[in-house]
């Protein structure tokens, strides 16, 4: 936080000069309370010859919203995809460095990727519900993951239905969609509005009880009302989940996040600090130029 200086005595010009020197080019200074949920060290990503992320180290605290901002092509989405190893699917992507999830290295050979992606859910820019009913969208993953018993005895005792109902209601309520769809759960999800579809995707992600939710510009294709609902939802989700949001919307990052990481061209992480600090008084001149619209 800013210093409070009371009536500085002595050589004021020296003090002033010292303050000038404090303006840094890079500033990664966020003290995470307790163990971080995700700890990234010296992460580098290449797509073929092109380096998308350059030597990034960052700790993401538990149960909070971390915003990632920066100009297009600076590696924000690449960074996000590294956290649940979605970049593995890109043929010429090469990843170097370490990402620890609750202290466990995720870039190790024997890691269960299905389990990792259950724990680290993702919501994309454009809502992408399956062309199925609202109910089937939410229950698709829990059924696949075996959360809902399929054996005959459970079925005849009616327990399967009850479990499904519980998961469906809980997920849709958490995604603030329950009241709007509770009477049409078997309607096709594609009939929902854009904002509702996006919240359905969040409900779908919540249905498998993740620990981290990655969001890549989750509200950029939505109108202001739907955007506001998604933002409220993100803030309330952070009470129980660790949320990481990539956004181009500066004000959105300022409104919803606890800490903000600023990536700049070349895949560099230039500043990482409390959101209020970043938007009131960033340390880096380059970050200040970017967020005030005087850069690039």
């Amino acid at each position: 936080m800013n210093d409070i200086e009371l009536n500085i005595e002595g050589n004021n010009e020296t003090a002033e000069r010292k303050r000038n020197e404090e303006v840094k080019d890079e500033w990664i200074n966020y003290d995470v309370d307790g163990d971080p949920k995700i700890s990234v060290s010296n992460l580098n990503v290449w797509y073929g010859e092109e380096r998308a992320i350059k030597d990034i180290s960052i700790d993401i605290p538990k149960k909070s919203v971390t915003a990632i901002i920066g100009p297009s092509g600076c590696g924000k989405s690449t960074f996000l995809r590294c956290i649940n190893r979605m970049n593995d699917r890109i043929r010429n992507a090469k990843i170097d460095g370490s990402i620890r999830f609750d202290g466990t290295e995720i870039y190790q050979n024997n890691l269960n990727l299905v389990e990792l992606r259950r724990k680290v859910g993702m919501v994309f820019q454009n809502p992408n519900p399956f062309p199925k009913s609202i109910r089937d969208n939410v229950l698709y993953a829990p059924r696949k993951h075996g959360y809902i018993e399929k054996n005959f005895l459970e079925k005849i005792l009616g327990r399967t239905k009850q479990k499904e109902k519980n998961i469906l209601e809980k997920s849709l309520k958490q995604a603030a969609l329950w009241d709007e769809v509770k009477n049409r759960l078997d309607d096709n999800a594609l009939g929902l509005s854009g904002g509702q579809q996006q919240r359905l995707c969040i409900a779908r992600c919540l249905a498998v009880d993740p620990e981290v939710i990655l969001m890549d510009e989750p509200a950029s294709s939505l109108d202001p009302i739907a955007t506001s609902k998604i933002e409220d939802l993100i803030v309330s989700l952070s009470n129980n989940y660790t949320v990481i949001v990539v956004t181009h919307n500066m004000q959105q990052a300022a409104r919803i996040s606890d800490q903000t990481a600023v990536f700049l061209t070349g895949g560099e992480l230039v500043e990482y600090d409390e959101t209020t600090k970043i938007f009131e008084n960033p340390e880096s001149k380059r970050v200040e130029d970017y967020i005030t619209g005087r850069f690039g």
């Binding site: 409070i4 009371l6 009536n7 500085i8 500066m250 004000q251 938007f279 005030t292 619209g293």
Partner: protein
């Protein structure tokens, strides 16, 4: 540069221009009070009143300019600090013009007794402080602002001496009303010095983002 950016810069410049005008007005206003204290002139009295009126209007212009900047451009970082600080600084200048107006009224109603010499010294030091602020705002440099603290201390000491001198005079039997009027005048000048320090602190915050207190 896109169209929106030009407008944004223009708005910032307009607010800054208005605040510089406020600075100029408050300096003029305090300078005029000197003549009033020593020898009352109707012309100077009206000038101070006119300045006070102008400063009220200009202060509203600054406020509106800052509100528009906030509503239309959602400023962040240095632009946010600029917008928030300019509103405060403008308010403070307006307050100095109010104090000058109070001094003008007291001078008008005051029965003639020779004012303590230190009142004039206080007034001159205050003008120096206001000049320092104006220069700092114009050039956007903060180095010299720390001098405000020393000048303010000198003003405080001068106020104490004025206070003592007038108190002694009253004890000796000088009329109470003109002496208390002069005491109020000195008090208003001292208060204007404090406000000037607050403006200085604000300019440092605006430029550096550091919360400092010049006092």
């Amino acid at each position: 540069m896109v169209k929106g950016e030009i407008k944004f810069e223009e708005r910032l410049n307009k607010v800054k221009k208005d605040v510089l005008e406020m600075s100029n007005l408050s300096k003029k206003s305090i300078s005029s009070t000197n003549n009033l204290i020593n020898e009352f002139s109707e012309e100077k009295f009206n000038e101070v009143l006119e300045i006070e009126e102008k400063s009220n209007i200009l202060n509203l212009d600054v406020e509106n300019g800052c509100m528009e900047l906030t509503a239309l451009h959602q400023p962040v970082a240095r632009d946010l600090r600029f917008t928030a600080s300019m509103m405060k600084i403008s308010d403070n200048y307006e307050r100095i013009c109010d104090l000058a107006e109070k001094i003008a009224y007291l001078s008008k109603e005051r029965k003639k007794i020779n004012p303590p010499k230190n009142i004039e010294k206080m007034q001159k030091k205050l003008v120096k402080m206001l000049e320092l602020l104006e220069k700092s705002l114009k050039e956007e440099k903060t180095e010299k602002l720390w001098e405000l603290s020393d000048i303010d201390d000198e003003i405080d000491k001068l106020f104490d001496s004025v206070h003592n001198e007038l108190e002694k005079g009253m004890k000796k039997g000088e009329s109470i009303k003109p002496s208390t009027d002069l005491l109020f005048i000195a008090r208003y000048l001292e208060r204007a010095g404090d406000i000037t320090c607050k403006i200085g602190s604000r300019i440092i915050y605006m430029k550096k983002g550091k919360r400092v207190r010049i006092k």
